[in-house]
Amino acid sequence: MPVQPFCQTASQGVPAAVSGLVITATSDPSDRAAIDAALAAAGCFEVGPWQENRLPVALEAADERASREWFEWLCGLPGVVKVDLAFVAWDD
């Protein structure tokens, strides 16, 4: 079975102001560690605990463009299989 990221929102705009996302990773533990490290270095993600190979995160970005870029970046991380949106809120 091909393992390509199915980021239905990949390369598109995503969250406006604040968004909740679920990252689905491969089952390889080293991939998860690399994803943890990348998110920590990025500095704009609030990260929840891993649930098997799924990681809930909150993303806060300056504007829609930045949100989109961060989303694309997430989808392109090694070991990321899929990114789902769970919540979107935007400025009043």
Partner: protein, 813 residues
Amino acid sequence: MSGGNSMTVGRRQFLKLSALAAASSLAAQLGQAAPVVPSVELPTIPDVHWNKAPCRFCGTGCHVQVGVKDGRVVAIAGDRQAEVNKGLLCVKGYHVGLALYGKDRLTTPLLRKDGKLTPISWDEAIDVIAQRIQSAPNRFAMYGSGQWTIPEGYAAQKFMKGGLANNQIDPNARLCMSSAVTGFLSSYGVDEPASCFDDLDACDVVITWGNNPAEMHPVLFSRLIDRRLRGDKVMLIDISTRRTRTSQQADHYLPMLPQGDLAIANCIAHQLVYGEKFDREFVEKHCNFRGDTEPLTLNGQAITFEQYREFLKDYSPEKVAPLSGLSVEQLQMLGKLFADRQLKITSLWCMGMNQHTRGTAINNLVHSIHLLSGHWGKPGDGPTSLTGQPSACGTVREVGTLCNALPGGRLVENAEHRAHAEDWWNLPAGRINPQPGYHTVLMWEKFCTPSDQGGDIDTIWVQVTNPGQSLPNLHRLFNAKKGLENKFLIVSDVYPTATTELADLILPSAMWVEKNGIYGNSERRTQQWFKQVDPPGEARDDCWQTIAVAHRLMKLGHAGMQDKDGRFLFHQADEADQEIPIWNWDHYYDVNVDERLYNEYRQFSRMKHKDLAPYAVLAEARGMRWPVVEKDDGSWHETRWRFVEGSDPYVQSGQGVQFYHSVTKDDRALIWFRPYSPPPEVPDSDYPFWLDTGRVLEHWHTGTLTMRIAPLQKAMPSAYVEINAEDAKRLAIRNGDQVRLETRRGSLELPAWIDGRGISPVGAVYVPFFDERLLINQLTLDAHDPFSKQPDYKKCAVRVTKVGVKPASNGKS
């Protein structure tokens, strides 16, 4: 990339915690095989109130939770109690709330005076329409859509057929799923899928027939992908004329020639029959065979199995390979899959099979191979058609807002059906016109023809759709209206569109959660929501607009706007039996008009065993799939698989499967032979490429809403022509170069995207239709299926010429 602090830290922090909580809940849910939870706490944000609604966009029917603060929608969350989406939404769904807040919302009625659109009052607008209709009621038509709510469509239907005795009403769904309708009718005797989305959770094999759910129905596609991620083996086979995001995930991508689907389906049947691999027991018990008549008729004629076998003779893999574009091995693989009765096979299709000059035929054939092989009626095992609009099923197919239909799957040509409707609408006998009106293509052709040259439709009222962009062959079917005398176009919409460009009167409409509503999705699921915010300015409900015009016509003396007791066609009374003046906007919400109309309509739903749930039950549910019947304990039972014992309450005990509306009146479905025929227009030396059109993930239909949602617009800002790298090289076209497309109907210049989102094969190009600045439907073909009257947007001949190079970054070419 950078983080930001444009909002107050306190609120941002709160939103972040809410977002993380929502993501954590969803992460837990995604890991479960049956992840619908009975109750869920929503993100707690100060002063934000949450309520449910189905998404405004496609036919999947996802439920969202809408967060409202101070009269504005400020947040959206996936609804985890919804069986359809189980908390997930696609990128369009998450931004659906922003569709309300485009800067150019229409907020006041506008009448074209001396060529200029001029604000007028609602009273004047209603008067203009009523006078126009009163002057020539039989030259008036209504053009609606699968985005009409059920009460809106029902009101329009009753107004036209019951009030005006005029069947000139048709919806844009004619352009997207009418071939599915005729396919179901001629296979099972009754419309709409027997299967449901639960099949996606149970199938072993999914075959997408010219279908790209990864972009068009992404939440359904996610269900498949999630199963794979949980370790389930689900084989995905994509039969398509171009590589798409669905192809990327497929185990087998089968590149098909345009119109090759007919030959492929017959080839599968050939292998089942000649290899003695069909399900003889299922066929003998539940099926009859059917073939074409001359001239063609929807229900054809009975044929024997031996005749069927003979018809299939020429569809061996070896003979079908050159017709279909598939290899002999690929065709044999499909034959073997259908011959394996241990597998559960789900077929999915949408526009690829429906927008087809042989749309009815290919729908029949896909049903037929499932019936023939016995891959029918078990969870995960059956044919499932998808729709593109949120209520194409609910409003068009069930309410029957088609030129030949009455509510509840009834027909205007049938005297008994008309009598029923007249009785329930309390109309004098003989009120309903037995002559079907014009289907969409013919309606617009008549409108765009001078009145003295046979153009006998002079006024069209368009609600909730954008034909100026979505009709095929736009120059002939829409743009030709320009300059014609005595043609008057009325458009009810929320934003300016390609259609309002030619409108003589524009009415500002409320949309989605600015009004009450009910939709019916692709799997027979009826979904209700309540109004949550006010519409802007003077925008008002489409349903009110129809009722207000009906009442004004009554005041002008139109007898049809009264029932046989002299009461208003849309009479509503309070508990003291005093009339509620719902035609007056100030009183429209004195009563829940949606609920009243739904209750009236609901009785029709029982005529074809499509029983709908009570309004109050729907108000508590995330939709229910009909037939919905009351059980002895007072609870309401929905139906997942129609015609299947144990699921469908109308199947008699001991029958197993019972096609109780069958064409042949013997509870049997029809296995059809429909021959392959070539497409109506094929590439030649003048127009050497194939042109295919369709949609993209970010934009919904004509982009009227999604192009006003900044994240979606920025992600996919304009249309493009997708071209194969080999063709691009041969024509010296680079990414971004300007390319002219020309067909026999028109021409258009667009930027090239070489092997972009999808990959068109050599000799073919693809253009999405969402961009109102680049109207690809000026080029498309209006040739249509003989039964469904649905045009083919998927294949015509086009010339491709490079006309300019992409501007360099310094602005110099």
